[in-house]
Symmetry: C2
Subunit: 280 residues, 2 copies
């Protein structure tokens, strides 16, 4: 197919149909072959319908297709001289599987290009009015694997709180392609507290519950650990803020209708943690 | 108009014309009045041209309009019962000025809605193949103000490196609306090292230089402090990786053409910092 090397585009779709960018749309329309993977993040039905409306010939790939079979289906298209796109939910922030596929394509001599879109990590900060400068490392709350509960998210939350940083807790996906709910996540956090005994999971902690960010029916509730709201359909995300500045407090209070007493109680608790006035 | 409260939409435009989302496009077309601010981030001419092509009646707001005059021009439109949009570059990740404007609108009884787009913070990780789970707090390298050089970015880089975390360093905007270049930023980092003497800014440090992320002519160069590449036009961004996993190393090496020896030298240095084998 001419002189130019075939290109593999890794295309972010964003979080909802309305997040689709002009670049993504153009590439989905113009490449020879479109693949889509739906296991590193769940693709909502409406989003899949939208994509199928643009290209009815999208090929869906499973975890095995990408990881065990090294994306053979994709490489085969490229080696026939065709441009291909691999669509992923959100911004293609580098899930190991995606980075590995691009490395394989590049080593086989093809061009690769990443097309950005809306990521939950940045979108959630915008929706909550929280400063990106105070975002600590993010974590995912995972289901126990072979009976073992990973303490990673809990330890990271502890580190972030002690530094006054905000924590975004993403929620695991079950094998059945269903997202963990906020309620399940809180139950796991409580179990981690039982095991880890750092004393951070208590009723003074402000918890912001978010559901379906970027969708028409997105829902954000500022509450506590002991008061988990009904959020409806997944995906859910949990955010535990660090030390809040005055504008962040105003935003939570006036725009997101947070109870000001809860916010101020949280401030005092984070201040205490930051000053080390609590058992290590 | 009618029964529904007027709404103020805070609309992210993304980083380049191709980042524009379907949601942003629909809102720009449908609201009664469109404002755009171009001082918290510089708007490239091509992006402004694109927006003016959609709406020729966009009103540009200065820092004074938003901060000193509390967005009076916007509030005036809303109070006449009109829906309005305030356009901002990137994802509207909550710059204090933007959050404050939404708080004012909400307190005056109007609805507010944030429309997400591509943010440099997430986009850069995708383009570099770096895991979002290892992103430490971000910082901005700022010009000296009244002769005083802020050490914040340097101290944060030190903290992140000691934890093996990646650091994104955003670059300041001059009053004249020009972005700081990567070269200027490195000069300032060297000055911070002279002042702070933590010994982190040295030739073993891997520095990833990025320019015009999301644009057709984006440029990414993996190099060192002592070897600043010519990147061309701003905006530039600097990323100093923490400890890299095998897929991240492969991505830097094969996709971004990094020198593997530089990468391995960096790994050893970060390992040393993480183990505390260096003067505090």
């Amino acid at each position: 197919m001419g002189k130019k090397n075939p290109t593999l585009y890794l295309v972010g779709l964003g979080l909802s149909p309305g997040n689709l960018t002009i670049d993504a749309l153009n590439i989905i329309r113009s490449v020879d072959k479109v693949f889509m993977e739906t296991y590193t993040s769940k693709a909502p039905g409406e989003l899949i319908k939208q994509i199928m409306g643009i290209r009815h010939d999208v090929v869906f790939l499973s975890r095995e297709d990408l990881e065990d079979r090294s994306g053979n289906a994709i490489m085969s298209e490229l080696s026939k001289g065709r441009n291909a796109a691999l669509l992923v939910i959100g911004d293609p922030m580098m899930a190991t599987a995606h980075a590995a596929i691009l490395v394989i394509a590049k080593r086989l001599g093809f061009e690769v290009k990443v097309i950005n879109s809306v990521s939950i990590v940045c979108a959630i900060l915008s929706q909550l009015g929280l400063s990106p400068y105070k975002l600590g490392p993010i974590a995912t709350i995972t289901y126990p694997r072979m009976g073992i509960l990973s303490m990673r998210a809990y330890e990271l939350l502890n580190d972030n709180l002690r530094r006054g940083l905000h924590t975004i807790l993403l929620l695991d996906i079950k094998d059945g392609n269903e997202f963990m709910s906020a309620g399940e996540a809180i139950d796991l956090l409580r179990k981690m507290e039982e095991n880890g005994k750092l004393g951070i999971i208590n009723n003074d902690l402000l918890v912001i519950y978010a559901a379906r960010i970027g969708w028409e029916n997105q829902s954000i509730v500022v509450s506590t650990i002991s008061n988990v709201p009904s959020l409806g359909e997944t995906p859910h995300t949990i955010i535990i803020p660090g030390l809040l500045n005055p504008v962040e407090i105003d935003y939570l209070t006036y725009v997101l209708n947070a109870d000001k007493d809860l916010v101020l109680k949280h401030q005092r608790w984070v201040n205490k943690l930051m000053n080390g006035n609590w058992q290590k």
